[in-house]
C-alpha cells in the first residue's frame, strides 16, 4: 500500500461519502439524522434513546408520547440506528420541520427485518400541534410492497420492493403539490397525481410511527432505521431546478459509496 503524507479533499477520498453529503445538504438547509453513535443520546440507566441529534440544522428527534423507553439503539457492523420492534411504539419525532407546501422530500435508509415488513418508516404529520388527529402522509414497507399514502387527500402510491433484505434500503419520497413520487435505492421513480395532501408548514416528522397515538400497533414493524433525511423545500424526485437534481445526485452517490 502506498501511503501519502498529505491531506486530500473529500471528493478524492473513497471513504468520505458522509462529509460530502453533509456539505451538500448544508447548502440546501436540509435535516439529517445520521447513523453515527455520537448522534444519539441515551438514558444512562436503561440505554433507551432519548435524543437523535441532526448534524446540520441542530434539530433534535425525541421519543413520541407513547414511546416511553421503548427506543433502543442498534449497533452492528459499524452502523448505529434505531432498533424498532414489531407492534411496539418505538418512534421518535422531530417537531416543526416546516415543509414548503409547494414541495418537499424525505428519505430513510434502513435495514429491513429478515421476515415480514418494516411497516411504517416515516410520516409527515400536519397535526394541530398534538399530532393526534390530523392529515398525515406516511411511507411504509410491508415486505413485498412500499406504500406512500396521504390521509388528507386522494394521494396514494404503491411500488414493489425490489432490493434484497440483506442490504440497507434507501427509500425516497417527494411531494410536489398534487404529485407524489417514490424511489427505492436508485431504481425506477414511481409517481402518481392525486389531490393535494395539504401539508401545511406546521408539520412534524415521525420516525418509525405515524403519530403520538399509542394505537395502530399493526402499522409498527421491525427494522433498524439507520439514517433519516428531510428537505423542506427540495423536490428530489420531481425536480424543478438544478439544486433539486444536485441533492438527488448527492443522495444517490452517498448510498453508493457510504452503504
Amino acid at each position: 500500500m502506498l501511503e501519502l503524507d498529505m491531506d486530500l479533499p473529500p471528493g478524492v477520498r473513497a471513504d468520505a461519502a458522509r462529509p460530502l453529503l453533509r456539505e451538500q445538504m448544508a447548502d440546501a438547509g436540509a435535516l439529517w439524522l445520521e447513523g453515527l453513535r455520537e448522534a444519539f443520546a441515551t438514558d444512562a440507566e436503561t440505554g433507551a434513546v432519548t435524543e437523535w441529534r441532526d448534524s446540520i440544522c441542530g434539530c433534535v428527534a425525541h421519543p413520541t408520547e407513547p414511546s416511553i423507553g421503548h427506543t433502543l439503539l442498534s449497533e452492528a457492523d459499524g452502523l448505529s440506528g434505531l432498533a424498532l420492534r414489531a407492534g411496539t411504539h418505538c418512534g421518535l419525532v422531530v417537531d416543526k420541520v416546516d415543509p414548503d407546501p409547494a414541495g418537499w422530500s424525505m428519505a430513510v435508509i434502513y435495514l429491513p427485518p429478515e421476515t415480514g415488513g418494516a411497516r411504517t418508516l416515516l410520516t409527515l404529520n400536519a397535526g394541530s400541534g398534538d399530532g393526534r388527529s390530523a392529515t398525515y402522509l406516511f411511507l411504509s414497507d410491508d415486505g413485498d410492497r412500499f406504500t406512500v399514502k396521504g390521509t388528507g387527500g386522494a394521494l396514494e402510491l404503491t411500488a414493489p420492493v425490489e432490493g434484497p433484505r440483506s442490504r440497507p434500503r434507501l427509500a425516497t419520497v417527494t411531494q410536489r403539490g398534487s404529485e407524489l413520487a417514490f424511489q427505492e435505492n436508485g431504481g425506477a421513480i414511481h409517481s402518481v397525481v392525486g389531490s393535494d395532501a395539504a401539508m401545511s408548514g406546521n408539520a412534524d416528522l415521525f420516525i418509525g410511527c405515524r403519530s403520538h397515538r399509542p394505537g395502530l400497533l399493526k402499522t409498527l414493524g421491525a427494522s433498524v432505521i439507520l439514517e433519516v433525511l428531510f428537505w423542506r423545500d427540495h423536490t428530489l424526485l420531481l425536480p424543478r431546478k438544478e439544486a433539486d437534481r444536485a441533492q438527488h445526485m448527492a443522495l444517490r452517490r452517498y448510498m453508493l459509496w457510504g452503504h
Binding site: L4, D7, R13, A14, D15
Partner: protein, 495 residues
C-alpha cells in the same frame, strides 16, 4: 509529497479481495475489490467519458435519446416469417415485436431470443415461479397448451411443466418455452392471468414446474431426486429472470404429498413435511429468494384411500407448521373424480381456482378447521359440540352437493353402544361451532368424531364458511371445512 510503501497487513482487510492501494493522511484514495479498482473520478473525467461515449455531460437531466440501449430496425418479414408481426426491433440478444398471436392475451408486444426459441410475452413485473413437489399424482397433466401460451412457461429443457418425474437430474437453463400439457401449477398460473385480464391489470410471466418422484415417506421426499430437481427449477427461474432483466419471485410452492406417505404415522408424516419446508427455505434463501409460501390441498377419502394417519398428519400440519408459511387451499372431497379416482377435467380447473384464490389471500387464507369436540352435559350427554377455527361464520350447505345427508359428514368412531350422529346444526350461541345430536349418549373409551372421513366411500361433508367465488366451469366454489378426527372430551358442563 512524502510517501512510503508498506506491505498490506492481511488482518487489516475487512473482506477477502478488498483493500486499500493508496491512502492519504486523512483517508483512503484508491481501494480495490474483486471486480477492480475503487476510486472517485473528478467531474472533468466524467464529462470526458460522457463525451467520448457520445452522451451528454454528467450532472444534466437524464434520458437524452442517445442513452437508450441500441435499437436496430429489423425487417419483421425476414425474421418473423408466417407471423402477423410489426414494429420489430433488436435489443441485445432479443428480437422484440408487436404481434397478433394465438391466446387470450390479445395483441401485444412479444420477444424471442435472436438465437431462436419460443416466443414469449414482453411482460411487466417479475418472472413468477409456481413450483410443486410431490408424488406421481402431482405429475397429472392435461395434454394441450395454455390459454396464455406466451405467458405460462417452463424452463426450456423440452420437458414441459411436468418435471423429470424423479427419473433424471434436471439441467441448467436460462431460456423459457411453451407448455404442451397443463399441470395443476400451469392451471393456477392460467387462472391468475385470467383474473388479471378481466381486471385490465398487468399480465406477468410465469414459470411452472412440478417435480415428483416415488418417495415412500415425506422424509424420503425431502432428500430425493424430486427435491434436488425442485431446487434446480428455482435456480433456472433465477437464470431465466436474469436473462430477461427481470427479478425472480416464487409465488408459491405446491406441496402435493399426503396419501402417498407410507410411514403409517401422523407424526412422522408431519415431521417429514416440516423438514422439507425448512430445507426448501434454506436452499431457496441461498439462491436469493424470500421465504416461500407453501400451499397444499387437504387430501381426503374413504378408509380405503386415506388412512387415519394421513388425515391426522395433515390436520397436525395445520396447527403445527412452525414458522413456515403453509396454507391449505381446500379439502380434496370438494373435487369430482372419475371412475379411476382421478379428478375430472372440470375438477382440476376448480382445484387450480382454489389454489389461486388461496395464494392470492396468502397468509390470510383459512378453510374452516375443527379443533375441539366436547360432550355436553345437557340432554343426557347425547349432544357433542364441535368447535372450528374459521375465517367466516360456518354454514351447513342446504344443497348438500356431496350428498351426506343430515349428518353433514360427521360420524362417530369407537362408540361401543352403537350411538350415531343423527342431526347436525350450527350452535345458536356461536356461529363457529356445531352441535351434533346423537341417537343416544355415545359411550366408548376411544370415542372420536370424524368429519369427511369414514362416511361413505369418499369421505365428504357439507360444512363450509361464507366465502364464495364463481368458478370458470360455472359452479359456485366454496371454502369447505377440512377433514378431521378428534377425540371427544367431556365438556365443562356450563352449557
Amino acid at each position: 509529497m512524502a510517501r512510503k510503501t508498506t506491505k498490506n497487513d492481511p488482518a487489516e482487510g475487512a473482506a477477502a479481495g478488498h483493500g486499500v492501494l493508496v491512502r492519504a493522511a486523512n483517508g483512503d484514495v484508491i481501494r480495490y475489490d474483486p471486480s477492480g479498482l475503487v476510486m472517485r473520478l473528478s467531474d472533468k473525467v466524467i464529462d470526458d467519458i460522457a463525451l467520448r461515449l457520445g452522451t451528454s455531460p454528467a450532472g444534466q437531466a437524464q434520458a437524452p435519446a442517445g442513452q437508450a440501449p441500441a435499437v436496430t430496425r429489423a425487417d419483421p418479414h425476414e425474421l418473423l416469417e408466417g407471423i402477423d408481426a410489426w414494429d420489430a426491433r433488436i435489443d441485445g440478444d432479443w428480437l422484440i415485436f408487436a404481434a397478433r398471436l394465438a391466446g387470450r392475451q390479445g395483441i401485444r408486444t412479444f420477444r424471442r431470443p435472436l438465437s431462436g426459441g419460443d416466443i414469449i410475452a414482453d411482460a411487466p413485473g417479475p418472472l413468477y415461479g409456481v413450483l410443486a413437489i410431490g408424488g406421481p399424482r402431482a405429475a397429472l397433466a392435461t395434454p394441450g397448451g395454455s390459454e396464455f401460451p406466451q405467458h405460462v412457461l417452463a424452463p426450456a429443457d423440452d420437458i414441459g411443466a411436468v418435471g423429470h418425474a424423479g427419473v433424471e437430474r434436471a439441467g441448467t437453463h436460462d431460456r423459457l418455452e411453451h407448455l404442451r400439457e397443463m399441470t395443476h401449477e400451469a392451471l393456477v398460473a392460467e387462472t391468475l392471468l385470467g383474473w388479471q385480464l378481466e381486471k385490465f391489470e398487468a399480465l406477468p410471466l410465469f414459470l411452472t414446474r412440478a417435480e415428483t418422484d416415488s418417495s415412500a415417506t415425506s422424509a424420503d421426499l425431502a432428500t430425493g431426486r424430486a427435491y434436488k430437481n425442485l431446487i434446480t427449477a428455482a435456480a433456472n427461474l433465477s437464470r431465466a429472470a436474469a436473462a430477461l432483466g427481470k427479478r425472480a419471485k416464487i409465488l408459491a410452492i405446491h406441496l402435493d404429498f399426503a396419501l402417498e406417505d407410507m410411514s403409517g404415522s401422523a407424526a412422522a408424516y408431519r415431521d417429514g413435511i416440516l423438514a422439507l419446508m425448512a430445507q426448501t427455505e434454506r436452499d431457496l434463501g441461498q439462491l436469493g429468494f424470500d421465504k416461500p409460501l407453501f400451499v397444499a390441498r387437504f387430501e381426503s377419502g374413504g378408509p380405503e384411500v386415506a388412512t387415519e394417519a394421513a388425515i391426522e398428519g395433515q390436520w397436525e400440519l395445520i396447527w403445527n407448521h412452525a414458522d413456515h408459511r403453509l396454507i391449505f387451499s381446500a379439502p380434496g372431497y370438494m373435487f369430482a373424480q372419475d371412475d379411476h379416482d382421478r379428478p375430472t377435467e372440470a375438477a382440476r380447473r376448480e382445484m387450480a381456482e382454489m389454489t389461486a384464490a388461496a395464494i392470492s389471500a396468502a397468509d390470510d387464507w383459512r378453510c374452516p378447521t375443527f379443533h375441539l369436540a366436547e360432550r355436553l352435559s345437557q340432554e343426557g350427554g347425547s349432544i357433542i359440540r364441535v368447535v372450528a377455527q374459521a375465517a367466516g361464520d360456518l354454514v351447513i350447505d342446504k344443497d348438500d352437493p356431496f350428498r351426506v345427508g343430515k349428518t353433514a359428514g360427521f360420524t362417530l368412531m369407537g362408540a361401543d353402544n352403537g350411538a350415531r350422529v343423527t342431526t347436525v346444526k350450527i350452535d345458536p350461541g356461536d356461529p363457529k361451532s356445531l352441535l351434533l345430536e346423537c341417537s343416544k349418549a355415545p359411550e366408548g373409551a376411544e370415542l372420536r368424531v370424524a368429519y369427511a372421513f369414514g362416511a361413505g366411500d369418499r369421505g365428504c361433508g357439507s360444512v363450509r364458511d361464507d366465502w364464495q367465488m364463481q368458478g370458470a366451469t360455472g359452479r359456485g366454489l366454496h371454502r369447505w371445512a377440512l377433514p378431521c378426527l378428534l377425540p371427544v372430551r367431556d365438556g365443562d358442563g356450563d352449557a
